[in-house]
Amino acid sequence: MGASDRDHQHQTVPPDISLRVKSLESLLVEKGLVDPAALDALVDTYENKVGPRNGARIVARAWTDAAYKAHLLADASAAIAELGFLGSQGEHMVALENTAAVHNIVVCTLCSCYPWPVLGLPPVWYKSSAYRSRAVIDPRGVLREFGLDLPGDVELRVWDSTAELRYLVLPERPAGTAHMDEEALADLVTRNSMIGVEKIAAPRPGAQP
């Protein structure tokens, strides 16, 4: 591409996306289609109230309460509703238990389906072409990019979220956590472990929980 082409391309680029979004929002407010205060409340909700801390509380409860774990694995929607974390894009939930013998990972190859009420909005990598294309054909290679080299004798199960079911991985409880209470355990649980792309590391000996 020559310099003049680049100049031409630059001139035809539409206005900056942030300006186009501002312009659309102002139009929709003026027409009475949206309420700006409700928009602000929604941003606040998804930035500050809905996120992987919700999922971590579910995991920590399952680690410390065998009856709750059994309920979660048998009827995840009901068990998650008990903690108040059922909602939009997490209406119908399935929980998948990772063990020493079986490892589950979750993807949406067709778009970006993700359990919003328990994990928040999906990270960029989860929505990327790289993850969506490779998680089903080369899941072990993808896991290695997250630092997890899964032994060959572990059965790997991939879940492609092609319908309205949303999946939450119940990661393995790490060794060395027998003394920890539910709240301290929840602090160990990472978002990526609940998608199945990493394991939770054992807490360092002597570290304050």
């Binding site: 979004v21 899941p139 092609t162």
Partner: protein
């Protein structure tokens, strides 16, 4: 449609690049696109399957080039225009057409918690709609190539698997996206051996589950 969005099993998309301490929205406009879409959704002028089909219709080169929330913005504009909520002239000018009526927003602050917490998708329980397949049954994903919306990925078509879970009854995307009714039917988690999908290169015990509707399946 056999679009670029259906990318399961494609090569050449590069490494997965996780970001440390990633913010929910990288720029303020991304958050505004997200919440505008949710707030406009409260008018119930379209359903989730219409919405997904609009993203799929973004031309392939554009689909791969633009960011996630740019796709959402494109979809929002097209759906607003298609449903007559705004005109293209209004989008271009950013101001309502002269004499247009000012409406009352469908979503107010008081309605936000319910929007976030509501189970917006209809119940999956409906005893009047029987399942066509039983848990443990061998099934083949049909070789369907509709030009419209579908949730049957190419990589599973023609492949044989086993019904693993019956999730209950859901709207059928292939009709629901196109105003042809919900055609509710059972959805199953179908387990496919990785080797059935990808051949001998795949580890022998690994598997991939897809959630598939009755109409995507036939007995095997």
């Amino acid at each position: 449609m056999n679009g670029v969005h259906d990318m399961g099993g494609m090569h050449g998309m590069g490494p997965v690049e996780p970001e440390i301490d990633e913010p929910v929205f990288h720029q303020a406009w991304e958050g505004r696109v997200f919440v505008l879409t949710r707030a406009i959704g409260a008018w119930r002028k379209w359903n989730i399957d219409n919405g997904r089909f609009h993203i799929e219709q973004i031309p392939p080169a554009e689909y791969l080039r633009i960011s996630y929330y740019e796709k959402w913005f494109t979809r929002l504009v097209e759906l607003l225009i298609e449903t007559g909520m705004v005109s293209r002239d209004e989008v271009d000018s950013g101001v309502p057409a002269a004499g247009s009526e000012k409406l009352t927003p469908a979503l107010r602050v008081a309605g936000v918690p319910a929007l976030v917490l509501n189970r917006n998708i209809a119940s999956s329980q409906d005893p009047s709609i029987p399942p066509q397949f039983a848990i443990g049954q061998r099934v083949r994903a049909r070789n369907l190539n509709p030009e419209g919306h579908t949730r049957l990925p190419r990589y599973a078509r023609g492949r044989t698997g086993v019904i693993h879970l019956d999730h209950g009854v859901y709207d059928f995307p292939d009709t629901n996206a196109h105003g042809l009714g919900p055609k509710r039917q059972h959805v199953y988690a179908v387990r496919f051996a990785a080797r059935e999908l990808w051949g001998e290169q795949a580890p022998p015990r690994d598997c991939v589950h897809l959630d598939l509707w009755d109409d995507y399946l036939e007995p095997a």
